[in-house]
């Protein structure tokens, strides 16, 4: 029989809460720091751009350290990595409270805390994949909702801390608050232990359970035995699966997402300045961002639920491409909105689209690759996205400065995203067809006495490539049918 598979509930919801906290901190914290910048700028006598570098370094480290995260999770599992990450964040901010120069702040806040947040972000996403399969989109949607919620909480909290304790005191207290990532990490009970407990190792079912476990956590299990007699490349490969670059779905996702991020964040950065440019006062402009955050908060779990439904789940890649194209369409239509009501409508739709994309960002990658290879995949994807994420707002800024008009930035972002969405749509259509073909092949081969799926240690990694596709796809297909059966049954 098949392995019991991810629990899809129970302690999984507690893990989702932990991931909610962890992801929330990772995404919202760099944005929340902006409140302190003016004071720091005055204190050290630097220019605004020098202080803004702190945020950029933090963001770059959080995304760039993705592969390190993946390697560590592959080796040690999610829990120790997140707890260590939380500790690192805390230490980073606490030492930042005692900094005496802007360079030290770059290191403490930018680099150390950024690294800690990276060690928080990836494992949280990974462990959701380990705990959920049938309800995974909902779990992903709920966990990603942590980002807007944390942002809405951190912004006033930071203001309060700043007024009462000054920036040094605030950094000290924020360091302590970041230690809650350790608490979130403590909740990430390793899933392997649970499965082992359910079936005792001696029974036949237990063997099957562990076999199933083996095929799912293939890379982790086979490797320790094969450590002797491996060359350097294979050693790196065991921690970070570079063979992913041969995986069709992964490449499609990578190219589409890297393209998308070029226009993803710039509109948020420039929404408030654009509103002020059209003559709206500061508070109303800030209110637009609040509307965005609130709609975002609701959109993410809602998207999770929709993506989990039996109509959408099998074709979730199409839903994702639609969300991206919808996002792009919003930006293209934005220049038409000149009044405040127009901008409010734009912010709501933008919040909706933004939430939809974010909720499914990791879900679609998991869908393509399965939980086991996701660990390495997420690291490689984030480091590739790192460049375009950092480039997006500055390019937008250059467009605005050159033309003196915000609409070209919106048009550029909209065009890039519509392009990305269309690309993903077409390529995934092609991918789905190829997968259907491969499945037919596999089913034909299964009737063959010789089984393609073996746990042969001697095989090279790219053979594992084809074997890995099997278990990850099957659950989806069966799950699709299973869900259908469920629906029909109820």
């Amino acid at each position: 029989g098949r392995a019991p598979g991810p629990p899809d509930g129970g302690w999984g919801w507690v893990v989702v809460f932990g991931a909610f906290l962890s992801i929330g901190f990772a995404y919202a914290f760099p944005k929340g720091l902006a409140i302190f910048f003016k004071e720091i700028q005055n204190f050290f006598g630097t220019s605004y751009s020098e202080v803004a570098w702190i945020s950029s370094i933090m963001l770059a480290t959080t995304y760039g350290a993705g592969p390190i995260s993946s390697i560590l999770v592959n080796r040690y599992g999610s829990r120790p990595v997140v707890m260590f990450g939380g500790l690192l964040c805390g230490v980073g901010m606490i030492s930042a409270a005692f900094c005496t120069s802007i360079l030290q702040l770059y290191v403490c806040v930018g680099f150390i805390t950024g690294l800690g947040l990276a060690l928080n972000l990836q494992p949280s996403v990974i462990i959701i994949g380990k705990y959920f399969l049938k309800r995974r989109p909902i779990a992903n949607g709920l966990a990603m909702a942590g980002s807007p919620v944390m942002l809405c909480t951190l912004a006033p909290l930071n203001q309060f801390l700043f007024e009462n304790f000054g920036w040094r005191g605030s950094f000290l207290i924020l360091g302590a608050i970041l230690l809650h990532c350790c608490v979130a990490g403590a909740l990430f009970r390793p899933i392997g232990a649970r499965t082992a407990l359910v079936e005792t190792p001696v029974t036949e079912e237990g063997k099957d359970a562990l076999k199933g476990k083996i095929t799912e956590d293939g890379p982790m299990e086979n490797k320790p035995e094969e450590e002797e007699g491996k060359d350097c490349f294979e050693k790196i490969n065991q921690y970070l699966d570079f063979s992913l670059f041969k995986h069709r779905g992964f490449l499609i996702y990578l190219i589409g997402n890297v393209l998308m991020f070029l226009g993803f964040f710039a509109p948020i950065v420039f929404l408030a300045p654009y509103a002020k440019h059209t003559g709206i006062d500061e508070y109303s402009a800030a209110f637009l961002l609040s509307i965005l955050a609130v709609v975002d908060m609701v959109a993410r779990p809602a998207t999770g639920i929709i993506a989990n439904s039996r109509w959408v789940r099998p074709k979730i890649q199409y839903f994702f491409s639609f969300a991206i194209a919808f996002n792009g369409a919003c930006h293209l239509l934005c220049p038409l909105a000149s009044s405040y009501t127009g901008l409010v409508v734009y912010s709501s739709f933008f919040g909706l689209a933004f939430g939809m994309v974010c909720a499914m960002l990791f879900e679609t990658l998991m869908d393509l690759l399965g939980a086991a290879r996701f660990t390495s995949a997420v690291g490689l994807v984030t480091i590739a996205e790192c460049c375009t994420i950092l480039l997006g707002p500055p390019i937008g800024g250059i467009l605005i400065d050159t033309f003196g008009d915000y609409k070209y930035m919106f048009i550029k972002c909209g065009a890039v995203m519509v392009l990305a969405g269309t690309f993903l749509f077409i390529m995934n259509y092609y991918n789905y067809r190829m997968l259907a073909k491969e499945e037919k092949e596999r089913k034909r081969k299964e009737e063959d006495p010789k089984s393609v799926r073996t746990e042969d240690e001697g095989k090279k990694n790219w053979n594992k490539d084809s074997t890995q596709d099997g278990p990850e796809l099957e659950p989806l297909r069966e799950e699709g049918e299973g869900v259908k059966k469920e629906m029909n049954g109820t």
Binding site: G77, P80, V81
Partner: protein, 359 residues
């Protein structure tokens, strides 16, 4: 020699100033002189020089490619009225005392009329939440073509009426709209009057409560946006009373003041001594105004207590979570030790080995 530019006739009011401009060309370069004939029938032309009429006359001449000369007379009186003549000559014998010149001086005339400055009665009236500024001019023979009201170099109101009075209405109180307002009567020449709305200093604190860290420098700022400007600022603190106490006595206080702003800097803040209310006092000829600024000095360790509290809470939560986990799965006690992830991996490895060997 010949004139390129001749001086223009002008009308002026007393206490005003007038400028006459003259330009001449010739080879060699001609000299320019200014001569004046008063309105008295007995008067003859007399020459004007730089510094004449108690230094009210200034003559500025340049002799480059051609000659230019500007004569300006300040603080005009009725006696300055008359004919002003610009004379030019390039004859080498032009100023010879005995010889008479071969070529005469060429002349160009301009008439300057100095009119007695009419009196303008300027008034500010307050009624039912409104301020009414009015200017009344006593010049019956003057032909007025319009009025203007100007404040801070911006035209507030203008019209083309020919009355000898003009009014301007503002909604609000004197305190809100203090400043200098000009009423302009369009005529030849233009006549301006000034209406001042003067109040006692409306002193406000830049920030009602300020924070500072122990040992750092604290800055308290008060400003006065009203008219007229403050002549004396003073700072005082509860308990000390008079401003003198906040002078540089202990060397820790630095006060920087201007007409509309004052800044008190306190060096090396001390929690005991410096926390409290500070009063900034501004005085001008119409009264005094005061504002209060509250200073809170944060101890260096203020943030430490919440920090320790949160760290303790985190430790407690993590311990509770691990203990709960241990209790739920007693056979995992060997795995329960940190790092659990690692030991789980090892666990599986053992189990795999057992399984494989069993196979």
């Amino acid at each position: 020699a010949g004139f390129i530019k001749s001086p223009l006739s002008q009308k002026r009011l007393t206490q005003d100033s007038v400028e006459l401009y003259c330009e001449a060309i010739g080879n060699p370069i001609p000299e320019i002189q200014w001569w004046f004939e008063g309105n008295d029938p007995n008067e003859t032309y007399a020459q004007l020089w730089d510094g004449a009429r108690q230094d009210r006359v200034k003559i500025n001449a340049t002799y480059n490619l051609h000659s230019t000369s500007t004569i300006s007379i300040a603080n005009l009186t009725g006696d300055d009225s008359g004919m002003y003549e610009c004379r030019a000559s390039n004859d080498p014998d032009r100023n010879h005392l005995s010889k008479s010149p071969k070529v005469k001086w060429i002349r160009s005339q301009a008439n300057v009329f100095v009119i007695e400055r009419p009196e303008i009665t300027a008034q500010v009236a307050e009624s039912s939440g409104k301020l009414i500024l009015s200017c009344n001019i006593s010049a019956p023979h003057l032909s007025i073509t319009g009025h203007q009201w100007i404040h801070k170099d911006k035209v507030l109101e203008e019209d083309k009426k020919t009355d000898t009075f003009t009014t301007y209405e503002i909604d609000g109180t004197r305190e809100e709209h203090s400043g200098v307002y000009e009423c302009v009567f369009e005529a030849n020449p233009q006549i301006r009057g000034q209406v001042n709305i003067s109040v006692a200093p409306q002193v406000t604190a830049y920030k009602k409560s300020e924070h500072g860290n122990e040992g750092d420098t604290g800055v308290l700022v008060c400003k006065n946006p009203s008219f007229p400007a403050v002549t004396t600022w003073s700072w005082s603190k509860t308990g000390h009373g008079v401003s003198a106490a906040l002078e540089n006595a202990s060397g820790r206080y630095i006060i920087k003041s201007s007409g509309n702003k004052t800044e008190l800097r306190i060096l090396k803040l001390d929690i005991e001594q410096d926390t409290g209310d500070y009063y900034c006092n501004g005085t001008n000829s119409f009264g005094t105004g005061e504002a209060t600024v509250n200073l809170r000095v944060r101890s260096r360790l203020a943030a430490l207590w919440p920090f320790l509290g949160i760290v303790a809470e985190v430790l407690v939560l993590v311990t509770i979570i691990f203990i709960y986990e241990k209790r739920r799965k007693p056979d995992e006690v060997p795995d329960g030790k940190r790092p659990p992830g690692k030991s789980n991996a090892t666990n599986h490895k053992d189990k795999n080995v057992r399984q494989r060997n069993a196979n």
